[in-house]
């Protein structure tokens, strides 16, 4: 009996190995063995082209939560079928390790032919070091218009586009409808309403907001929204692009409001020592009523079978409330593109690589929302896709957005971002005055000029 089970497992794992090899996970020799038959057939039927191998490095491993990986492999399979002379070889790394390795291999100019990059500040040293190749030639035959305004621009430098966006996110405030109902609360539209919601939960010994600020960019979202609602999209953006100053009254006021919220115990205890994942679980176990996070988390509240149906039915979202007297618009969002595909400047198969990224984004845009729950960088027609309601609502908001302010830590250069993120943690910890908070930012930003 046991033996049988073991054999079954073994068979399964072998099967997965074979699939992997076929997907380009293994080395090229293995692939030739596994797909040798089909290869030769193709060679007979089509004019012989030189065999090329494309190295593709990405950060979506096949852990079971990540449906992304399957979609990626599906697209690669199709691409290899259309282009039998091209073999795509994959290397997968987890987020942090991916960033780490990208830098190490760049130092020796050994980037893979195709890889993933984040926009703006992250990308800058790679573009300056001439590691990425401009992709304008493949964008110019119509592809450019497919993207939502602002997404492609995040990957632009010196008038060239260096990557094709794969995801676009905005950050709504998710909330637990059952908990709101229990205390007779309504979705807040103004900041005062919002404070009322917070105070009501606090009075009833419930943590209003789950926030894991060990990761720091999570706290940055809160600050960015307040800055936006008080000063409009312009206040923060002009401080960062140096047409304005960070010691702007409106930006200081936003910091004051953060500390006011902390003093009201709006956030869970020990937020600066908690990771985003830990904080999220407080929300998902109904220990906290609200949670501000990117729309990438939508599958958790809609399709993820591991989460109880009851909880998923209870989750709604609202737009960050407006501050009375502020310049912000309720339809303005914090968000932006996540990773995009780049082609390496020194790739010896640049043409094929470009062909691949073009094919990839086009296919990705067709299937990513429905198959993987990823919002692509291109316009999604919500009447055409089959998605849970919550998803559709967020997509509609995205289409109606008056403005999307790019995540501050992405917008800034890595060095300034590090200062910003550190100051965010210090601000939430109540260890810096709002004035000094602004001053530190201003110093870091002006040091870059």
């Amino acid at each position: 009996m046991e033996k049988k089970a073991f054999k079954g497992l073994l068979a399964l794992s072998i099967a997965s190995l074979v699939t992997l090899a076929a997907c380009g996970g293994g080395n090229s020799n293995d692939e030739n063995e596994a797909t040798g038959a089909t290869d030769s057939e193709h060679n007979v039927n089509e004019e012989p082209k030189e065999e090329v191998t494309l190295d593709f490095m990405h950060l979506w491993p096949w852990g079971s939560l990540d449906i992304y990986n399957k979609v990626v492999n599906q697209i690669i399979d199709e691409f290899e079928e259309i282009n039998p002379h091209i073999t795509v070889e994959l290397e997968l790394l987890e987020n942090e390790q991916y960033k780490n390795k990208l830098q190490v291999i760049s130092s020796s100019n050994q980037l893979p032919d195709v890889g993933m990059t984040w926009p703006a500040g992250f990308m800058e040293p790679y573009v300056n070091g001439e590691m990425f190749t401009p992709l304008d030639d493949i964008l110019d035959d119509g592809l450019r218009d497919d993207f939502v305004t602002g997404t492609l621009e995040a990957y632009e430098m010196n008038g060239n586009s260096y990557a094709l966006p794969l995801e676009l996110n905005i950050a709504p405030v998710f909330y637990n409808q059952a908990m709101f109902e229990e205390y007779g609360l309504e979705v807040p539209e103004t900041y005062d309403d919002f404070l009322h919601v917070i105070d009501t939960f606090v009075e009833n010994d419930i943590a209003p907001i789950a926030l894991g600020n060990r990761d720091r960019w999570t706290g940055s979202l809160w600050y960015m929204y307040l800055a936006d609602r008080i000063g409009g999209a312009d206040a923060l953006n002009s401080a960062i692009d140096r047409s304005g100053s960070f010691e702007d009254e409106r930006l200081i006021e936003a910091a004051e409001k953060i500390q006011d919220m902390v003093d009201r115990e709006a956030f869970i205890r020990g937020l600066n020592g908690l990771s985003d994942q830990e904080a999220k679980s407080e929300f998902m176990n109904s220990n906290a009523a609200m949670y501000l996070i990117g729309s990438w988390d939508l599958p958790n509240y809609t399709t993820n079978e591991e989460v109880s149906q009851e909880f998923r039915d209870n989750v709604g979202f609202f737009k960050f409330p407006v501050v009375e007297g502020g310049e912000g618009d309720i339809n303005s969002w914090v968000g932006g593109p996540g990773v995009g595909l780049f082609v390496a400047e020194n790739s010896d198969v640049k043409d094929e690589a470009k062909e691949f990224v073009k094919y990839f984004v086009q296919e990705w845009d067709k299937i990513s929302v429905e198959e993987a729950g990823v919002i692509p960088g291109t316009q999604v027609d919500t009447s055409q896709v089959d998605l849970p309601d919550l998803f559709i609502e967020v997509l509609d908001e995205l289409n109606n957005a008056s403005d999307i302010t790019l995540f501050a830590d992405v917008q800034m250069s890595p060095a300034v971002a590090e200062t910003h993120l550190n100051m965010i943690q210090t601000l939430f910890g109540g260890e810096v005055s709002p004035e000094d908070f602004a001053k530190e930012h201003e110093e870091a930003l002006s040091a870059e000029d």
Binding site: L9, L12, S13, A15, S16, L17, L20, G25, G26, N27, D30, M57, L59, W60, P61, W62, G63, S64, L65, D66, Y68, L90, E91, L92, L93, E94, N95, Q97, N100, K101, V104, I105, S107, S108, Q110, Q277, E278, S281, E282, M284, N285, N287, G294, W296, D297, N300, E306, V307, G338, V339
Partner: protein, 288 residues
């Protein structure tokens, strides 16, 4: 007088028993604390993401997710990683312990002028932070064509563990009585023969100790593997864990299962090797 003595003696005995009892209780409590992490890890591997964060660490999950293990075995490439871990760890440990024994023997038992300098060179090798070496080493392996080759990690592990291993061996080599070699050489034994037949067996306990330490370090290492290895077929178990860490979320249950699977062989090897710490001593003292 004699009565008083015996009372004192009895008191002493009682006090001794009490201290012993107290000591035992303390030892048992510490032992319990030390074994809890394994229990925790096992329970962790049977939970889903919600339970991992919200149940108390030692609480049983409502319905154990044995499926985590199935996920790990079927979706991850774990069989391959496992084999690679064994090969890489095994070769690096053997190489390190052997080379370190050679060096320590030469430094402590043989007569030459530069021995202190060479020892100093090895010690400085302990002091460089790992992350400073990544870019230079990447460049090096790229140039000699060992990039994405298991040899690159075996050599790196060996080099980085040599200093530590030599330092631990050193203290023990100094305690070996000189008479041992003198007698051997009188008998016409060559240096090589003496090293393999006398010195290595006598130092078996400490060799086992350093082997355990090396094994644990190599088995759990992942920065070098990530940097030098790109093909899935050469990656090791620590990298396998990353397969369950997504861009925005992670599959903690599967990570737990991978951790459990990866700790079993090392636990086994540890028990076997740590027995030889004692056995080696007895056989060594017989010869000595």
């Amino acid at each position: 007088m004699s009565q008083q003595n015996s009372i004192v003696g009895a008191e002493k005995g009682i006090r001794k028993k009490i201290t012993h009892g107290f000591l035992y209780i303390l030892l048992i409590i510490i032992a319990a604390v030390q074994i809890l992490p394994l229990v925790w890890l096992f329970l962790f591997s049977l939970k889903d993401n919600q339970e991992v964060f919200n149940l108390p660490p030692l609480a049983l999950p409502q319905d154990p997710k044995w499926g985590n293990y199935v996920t790990v075995w079927t979706e991850g490439n774990i069989g391959v990683y496992f084999l690679n871990s064994v090969i890489v760890t095994g070769s690096a440990v053997l190489l390190t312990v052997l080379l370190a024994s050679f060096v320590t023997f030469a430094i402590t038992r043989m007569n030459w002028k530069l021995n202190k300098l060479v020892l100093g060179l090895f010690m400085v090798g302990l002091m460089i932070p790992v992350h400073s070496t990544l870019i230079p080493l990447f460049n090096f392996y790229l140039n000699i064509g060992l990039m994405n080759h298991p040899l690159s990690i075996i050599l790196t592990y060996t080099a980085f563990n040599l200093p530590l291993t030599i330092m631990i061996l050193l203290g023990f080599y100094y305690t070996i009585p000189r008479e041992l070699e003198e007698a051997a050489i009188m008998d016409g034994c060559s240096v090589h023969r003496m090293f393999f037949r006398i010195i290595l067996p006598v130092t078996a306990p400490v060799v086992a100790t350093t082997a355990i330490i090396n094994m644990i370090y190599n088995w759990n290492e992942f920065v070098f593997v990530n940097t030098f290895i790109s093909s899935d077929k050469y990656k090791t178990l620590t990298v396998g864990i990353q397969n369950f860490i997504g861009q925005y979320s992670a599959d903690w249950g599967a990570i737990g299962s991978t951790l459990v699977i990866s700790i079993l062989p090392i636990l086994l090897a540890f028990v076997v090797l740590s027995n030889s710490i004692v056995e080696g001593i007895t056989s060594g003292s017989v010869k000595g």
